[in-house]
């Protein structure tokens, strides 16, 4: 790939940080037992603060498109480029505001940009890397002088009690199955974006994109994080639209997000195997990585995975991992851009340093890696 550069970054996190003690005020209370499961999840993911676009009363001034649009406006405020130079906008999200049209159209309108090319990338966390790669290739191919990739999530609205009460998924004791409860205490809201250009920014730090790799393993994994599916209880799922009338689908819990956590852990070796493949290809040199930005916490890797990675010369020491998940939450498709933005603003980057991005997606098993190099203007 022709080298292209991340020349600016920005984020939009709605409202003030919400601590663990207050989060039930925002996503709402199902039952004391459900909150006990929530505390268990929080102990595992170690998130301390997150942001919500929803108010405790369930109202909001935000949509996912407004969050993305605000991140794009913030990006333009920091960029050394006019808006009409930007010919391409790629958006990433897990769940759009509307089923139709795509988030890129809605975001284009919210961002106030002139007519341009757009692409809506919808998946889960890895949709961010799909958007980044698409934007990078557009610039590398000389289609546009500059492109924006933006990721946004507004998942808290799906976690409110009114999305569960009265559905078959809700149990008599006021709890949800673990695969539904887990996500309520894991995901939160926000947006972040990157500006991609053909040359580094004239001032400050840029990141050269050396390569981006993304691979799906849906040939061997069934859907493991789902929304819009009716689960038959025996592991099979069917689309919401094929379960009788719309009320029946809703009652069956079709519009709830679910995450099979056990299946997620079965994907870990596959994500690590892909890392090893890139080491063998010479794309990743684990010893040369200065900053490892992984959308998966080091502490969540089990002992067995760490051992396997270490023996194979693939373990990046914990002190070179950079994360902001504990203070900003897990913002899905916005997470990796949010991490890049915080790292660029951290004052810790030095010209020539190597950054490795890792974005696994449990949806139906995707893993994306990318290699970046820090470039400082005037060096």
């Amino acid at each position: 790939m022709q080298p292209v550069y991340v020349t600016a970054s920005a984020q939009c996190l709605p409202g003030a940080p919400v601590g663990n003690d207050e989060m039930a005020d925002f996503i709402g209370r199902l039952s004391p037992e459900a909150e006990r499961l929530g505390r268990l999840t929080l102990r595992q993911n170690r998130i301390r603060h997150r942001h919500y676009a929803i108010r405790p009363d369930g109202s909001s001034d935000w949509t996912v498109a407004r969050l993305a649009g605000a991140a794009v406006r913030n990006l333009l405020d920091t960029a050394a480029i006019d808006a009409d130079q930007i010919g391409f906008l790629a958006t990433a999200t897990t769940q759009n505001d509307l089923l139709v049209p795509g988030l890129a159209s809605l975001t284009h309108a919210e961002a106030g940009l002139p007519p341009m090319e757009v692409a809506s990338l919808q998946s889960v966390c890895a949709s961010s890397m799909m958007a980044l790669k698409t934007a990078a290739l557009q610039v590398a191919a000389d289609e546009h002088p500059a492109a924006i990739a933006v990721g946004a999530e507004f998942s808290s609205r799906y976690f409110r009690p009114d999305k569960y009460l009265g559905t078959d998924v809700m149990r008599a004791d006021g709890t949800l199955p673990a695969d539904a409860e887990f996500l309520r205490w894991t995901l939160s809201d926000g947006a972040a974006g990157l500006l991609i250009e053909k040359a580094p920014a004239p001032r400050g730090l840029s990141l050269r994109i050396d390569w981006i790799s993304l691979r799906s393993f849906a040939d061997r994994f069934a859907p493991c994080m789902t929304g819009g599916a009716v689960h038959d209880g025996n592991g099979a799922i069917s689309p919401w639209s094929m379960n009788g009338d719309i009320g029946a689908a809703a009652k069956a819990g079709a519009f709830q997000l679910r995450q099979d956590v056990a299946a997620l852990y079965r994907m870990l070796p596959v994500w690590l195997g892909e890392f090893m493949r890139l080491v063998d290809l010479g794309r990743i040199d684990p010893r040369a990585v200065d900053w490892f930005l992984c959308h998966f916490s080091a502490h969540s890797l089990r002992e067995e995975m760490t051992q396997l990675a270490t023996r194979a010369g693939c373990m990046i020491p914990a002190e070179r991992w950079f994360t902001n998940i504990y203070d900003k939450g897990n913002v899905g498709a916005a997470a990796i851009f949010l991490m890049i933005d915080d790292l660029l603003r951290s004052g810790q980057l030095i010209h020539g340093q190597k950054i490795l991005l890792a974005v696994p997606e449990s949806g139906q098993c995707i893993i994306s890696y990318a290699g970046l190099t820090v470039v400082e203007a005037g060096q």
Partner: protein, 223 residues
């Protein structure tokens, strides 16, 4: 730069991860992992595995005799391994009978198409001088025991309502192959050292055996 031993570990891990994660594409394994296994499936699995396992200690013994004086450590490891496993096929026969099969039938069985390919490959490599590549083959076979046999034994007894005496082969390997893997790691260090060609050779053989083992599962009862 990574070392030759790290490259060997990495290559073997990649072979295993690809093999294990894609096993669900094999029809009988898809039924096993989704709770739809039939007793006929399990009997067929035992019947087909027995025709391969009965050859196991024979090719391991042949390989032992092919190691020259520079590889005495590997030779003694192969000899011990052959002794430990040379009657394993009897566990499969006993399981087959406990699962409702007839002893004479499993004993008179033929290798399926995949088993023929797997066995022929093993014997061919074992008869070469200093067959270090066979460590790759052993890695795949031992990993099956260490990582898959135990969970399969549990899910098969649960799904089919069998007693533990019908899953003795899987249970035995699930309980014992972890120790074998430690021994394997030592053997790998001995065999690879800083020799990149040896590392590549071992990974290559693991890749072939993983594919042939899967072929054996795909070709159940196809003789």
């Amino acid at each position: 730069m990574s070392t030759a031993l790290e490259a060997a570990h990495r290559g073997l891990a990649r072979v295993w991860i690809d093999f294990e994660s894609a096993l669900v594409q094999v029809p009988v394994i898809a039924r096993l992992t989704s709770g739809r296994l039939r007793i006929e499936d399990y009997r067929s699995l035992l019947f087909n595995l027995r025709q391969q396992v009965i050859e196991g200690s024979r090719w391991i013994s042949l390989a032992a005799s092919s190691f020259g004086p520079e590889h005495e450590d590997l030779r003694s490891m192969f000899v011990r391994h052959a002794v430990a496993e040379h009657r394993d096929y009897r566990l499969l026969e006993a399981d087959y009978v406990a699962a409702g099969g007839v002893l004479e039938h499993i004993r008179a069985g033929r290798k399926n198409i995949g088993t023929e390919a797997l066995s022929a490959f093993m014997y061919q490599i074992a008869s070469k001088r200093d067959p270090i590549g066979l460590l790759g083959a052993m890695f795949v076979i031992e990993s099956l025991g260490e990582r898959i046999a135990g969970p399969w034994a549990k899910t098969i007894t649960a799904q089919l309502g069998l007693e533990s005496d019908a899953v003795s082969f899987l249970t035995y390997h699930g309980a014992n192959d972890a120790g074998h893997i430690d021994l394997f790691d030592q053997a790998l260090s001995l065999a690879v050292g800083d020799n990149e060609a040896a590392a590549e050779d071992i990974v290559h053989h693991a890749r072939v055996v993983a594919r042939l083992y899967r072929l054996q599962l795909e070709e159940l009862d196809h003789v």
